[in-house]
Amino acid sequence: MSAAVIVFPGSNCDRDAVSALSKHTTKQVHRVWHRETDLPKVDLVLLPGGFSYGDYLRSGAIAARSPIMKAVSKHAMRGGLVVGICNGFQVLTETHLLPGALMRNVGLKFLCKTAPLRVENTQTAFTRAYAGQESTSILIAHHDGNYFADDETLDRLEGEGQIAFRYVQNPNGSSRDIAGITNKAGNVLGMMPHPERAVDALTGQTGGLAFFESLAGALS
């Protein structure tokens, strides 16, 4: 059981992700540079937050075309677990591993605040440890977190239980208050909130602990 964190040149949450994974999920965490074409043998791939290639174009658009993403897609197709957090979520929609798109926040401003969330599906590999917990709180920090998909897609996401997290108070205009979704097969998750920053009571944030515990369970 091991994990890889992909490092784009503008990733800035890679260290936080490595540290949360190693502390709460698995000791075996590799950092993989964006120009690699192969992944080490891992069970989980995490695309961290940040500004992968500066995001001067659409967020995540260039990262989706970087050499390592072919290997990440293959890993996902084979059923391997993939997590995209914030910029990682944007990369996953740009790669079409997840449906929809992340547009600029409705307020047109970057927004960093603690977001109360509803855990909508505790049956996924990413959320099992939230069982019995209807709600949690995790920080958001993004400019482009306004989730959009057409109604048919949104209905399907709801029908198939693919909505993992919803905002209690929609901060960014996301369709149907969506904060995080999985793919249909349930092995790929994207979310805008940052669970890797919410694993330490001293920082006042612990809402992400159950997320990394869920991953630990899924990998064991």
């Binding site: 040149p9 503008g10 500004f51 970057f110 927004l111 960093c112 920053r197 001293l202 920082t203």
Partner: protein, 734 residues
């Protein structure tokens, strides 16, 4: 014009040099400089780079102390924080560019200060910003706030360094000249700190980072002149920031610093390639030869003077150990940054520039520093203001006054601003803006230690009395750090004033430094880095004198970090420090009576120190539930902050001798409000008495309103609305 063509006095004057400075250049060169050489002299001797009006006065500031590893003179200050670790920090202004082009001006201010810190080997871990805008009703203010805040966020958020604190004030005195002061704090190993002295001849000079363009040419000169009606035509002198390049530059430089390749390193900030190469050569006692054809260029047909004066961002100059060129270049290429060997150090003591097969500049380096102008500008004492007598303050509805103060532009919540900043990336932020503490608290990664960081200045005090105001700036910063439970270690300063050629402005500068120096000495709080920004004037109107301080403190165990959100119903409130009810230059007088008048509160530095160390001990013993320093708006506003953060009402008692307004809103210095359990109240009061301190019970946490003596209660919900709504209402009321 040929490169050999001598320039004239008139050309020199157009670049901001005066007749006597021109004469020194002629004497040293034995001839008139050509265009490139003149350009180099003009930026090196600009106020911004040479500190020609300020240098002799800055010497008065104490710069040494037990914790100091490197004081002023390098890119940033370095202090020891134990366990083989150092904290490297500095604050810098980007006022002029931010007024002209708020987004890019503020963004590049953040970028520049980060480079000053990582240049020395530190990973940046925290950013703060001290912002002063014009009056809210001024037609430009809203757009400036919006642009500056977006620029700060746009840069810091992308690079991935948390913006954890700062301050924002509004005053008509900044209508034509806002202040954007950015501070960066980084952490390094004491064993790998990098300096800028390029010792040794024959070493290769490596250029890395972004390409050189025509942006920012003469930015340093612009920052050394007053604004006028033509100012906005200067937009082309403002640089454009690219935080993605900065991020890669940080990672690449820190990686190179793990090797033994580097002799010296310096970022290209103000006056770009000129100041970085000259400062490195000058400090190393060597000459430098550069081939400008090798400089990576973004535009075609750039002239030597354009390349030398460009302030394109995200560039560094590195002097390498010979033979390490390939190893260094490989790192920068991997991060997809431009990298080029552009010259070498020499034993000539001259700066020689080559361009298209010709020598376009050959000047001795030492005189640029040694002969740099150093003016003893005439100054006059600021006329002293009378103290405001209690009888001179009218009776008022104090419940209403409290509500007005808590909702006034300087006091109201700045949530609208700090929610646009990523305050938590790097996952070590313990307390940030909105985190109900007097200073930001950031854990040192991988340890139990934390830094407490605060920035402070009360310009209305400095304006009324530069000397007392200067003391207060330092004292308040020290107090803010104490109130979090940290041990204050050292400061950086960012001194923003008007035109130093006017004696009354120079008087503000000189006397506030005297005050700061005295407070820094008394509180053992040395200045380790800083920046001076003069000529903050538009059409002859100077800004209020604004010497901003950024202080850093250390706490050994982050679990002891204290805030003002931990007060609980039933807690007693104890006031530490003497209260005379000082209303001169107070927020109360300004906001309630519309008067900016009177002498500011005096600062008794002995009291300040004794009170602070007493509170610090109580925090470390774990005796306190909440601590807040008293500053703007005095006791009532401190208690209101505590009530809002702790979500519990407060009942404050009236004073038996002082008039109510003076007691509740006086801004006497050196004071703290403590929340303690009812059982501990007596023992803490006894302890204070034993230590010869002034301490008194002033009320308790109770109910759901803030109540001042026998005035009508101000319900917390209403107070919260008033406090939270001002800024969004202001910004969104387009």
């Amino acid at each position: 014009m040929s490169i050999k063509t001598p320039t004239t006095l008139e050309q020199a004057q157009a670049l901001g040099l005066n007749e006597s400075e021109w004469a020194v250049i002629l004497k040293r060169l034995g001839r008139a400089p050509n265009e490139t050489e003149l350009g180099i002299f003009s930026v090196m001797w600009s106020e911004h780079c040479s500190y020609k009006s300020s240098r002799r006065h800055l010497r008065k500031l104490p710069t040494s102390g037990d914790c100091v590893i490197c004081g002023p003179g390098e890119n940033a200050g370095v202090i020891d924080i134990g366990d083989g670790q150092a904290c490297i920090f500095k604050m810098e202004s980007h006022n002029h560019p931010s007024f002209i082009e708020p987004y890019q001006g503020a963004a590049t201010g953040v970028g520049g200060i980060m480079r000053d810190v990582f240049t020395m080997g530190a990973r940046p871990v925290a950013l703060l910003n001290a912002l002063r805008f014009g009056a809210p009703e001024h037609p430009k203010t809203r757009a400036l706030v919006s642009g500056v805040v977006a620029g700060i966020g746009g840069y810091g958020n992308c690079v991935g360094v948390p913006t954890v604190g700062g301050e924002t004030n509004f005053h008509a005195g900044y209508n034509g000249n806002i202040l954007v002061n950015a501070m960066c704090v980084g952490i390094a190993d004491t064993k790998s700190i990098f300096y800028s002295a390029a010792k040794g001849a024959g070493n290769p000079v490596l250029y890395v980072g972004a390409k050189t363009g025509r942006d920012g040419i003469h930015g340093a000169t612009m920052a050394s002149a007053e604004f006028d009606d033509e100012t906005e035509a200067k937009r082309p002198t403002v640089q454009v920031g690219d935080p993605f390049t900065e991020k890669r530059l940080i990672e690449a430089c820190l990686e190179l610093m793990q090797t033994d390749c580097i002799v010296a390193i310096q970022d290209m900030g103000a006056a770009g390639l000129t100041s970085s190469s000259i400062e490195m050569a000058d400090k190393g006692g060597v000459g430098i030869d550069l081939n400008l054809d090798k400089v990576p260029q973004r535009e075609t047909h750039m002239t030597p003077v354009e390349m030398m004066l460009s302030e394109s961002q995200e560039r560094m100059l590195i002097v390498l150990q010979p033979g390490k060129e390939a190893q260094a270049q490989e790192i920068f290429e991997r991060w997809e940054l431009d990298v080029a060997l552009i010259g070498k150090t020499t034993d000539t003591g001259h700066m020689v520039l080559h361009h298209k097969g010709q020598v376009v500049c050959d000047i001795p380096i030492a005189p640029l520093g040694d002969d740099a102008p150093n003016y003893d500008r005439p100054w006059v004492e600021t006329p002293s203001q009378p103290a405001i007598a209690h009888s001179d303050v009218a009776d008022a509805d104090l419940t209403k006054a409290l509500q007005t103060l808590m909702g006034c532009p300087d006091m109201a919540s700045k949530r609208w601003i700090w929610e646009q900043y990523d305050r938590h990336v790097m996952a070590d932020t313990i307390r940030a803006s909105g985190g109900a503490a007097d200073a930001a608290v950031v854990r040192v990664h991988g340890t139990q230690k934390a830094l407490a960081i605060a920035s402070d200045c009360t310009p209305r005090y400095v304006q009324a009395d530069p000397y007392e105001g200067g003391k207060q700036v330092v004292a308040e910063c020290w107090r803010n750090i104490i109130a979090t439970g940290a041990n204050p270690l050292a400061v950086t300063d960012c001194l923003n004033f008007g035109n130093p050629e006017r004696p009354e402005i120079m008087g503000q500068f000189v006397r506030s430094i005297d005050g700061m120096a005295e407070a820094c000495r008394a509180l053992n709080f040395p200045v380790v880095s800083g920046n001076v920004s003069l000529y903050n004037e538009t059409a002859g109107a100077a800004i209020p004198p604004t010497p901003t301080i950024g202080g850093v403190g250390l706490m050994g165990d982050v679990r002891t970090a204290m805030g003002f959100d931990g007060a609980r119903a039933g807690d007693s409130l104890i006031l530490i420090g003497k209260t005379d009810g000082w209303l001169g230059a107070s927020l109360y007088l300004r906001e309630i009576e519309g008067r900016e008048a009177g002498a500011p509160p005096p600062v008794d530095l002995e009291d300040e120190k004794r009170n602070g160390l007493f509170v610090s001990d109580l925090i470390l013993k774990g005796d306190l539930n909440a601590v807040h320093d008293l500053s703007d708006g005095g006791l009532a506003c401190a208690a209101a902050d505590m009530a809002l953060a702790s979500k519990c009402g407060v009942e404050l008692c009236a004073h038996n001798a002082l008039p109510a307004a003076a007691w509740f809103f006086g801004e006497d210095q050196g004071r703290y409000l403590l929340a303690v359990t009812a059982e501990q109240t007596d023992s803490i009061l006894a302890l204070a008495k034993g230590a010869g301190m002034t301490a008194m019970p002033v009320g308790r946490m109770q109910g759901t309103a803030v109540t001042l003596g026998d005035c009508a209660p101000l319900v917390l919900d209403l107070l919260a609305q008033t406090y939270e709504n001002w800024m969004p209402d202001f910004m969104e009321d387009a």
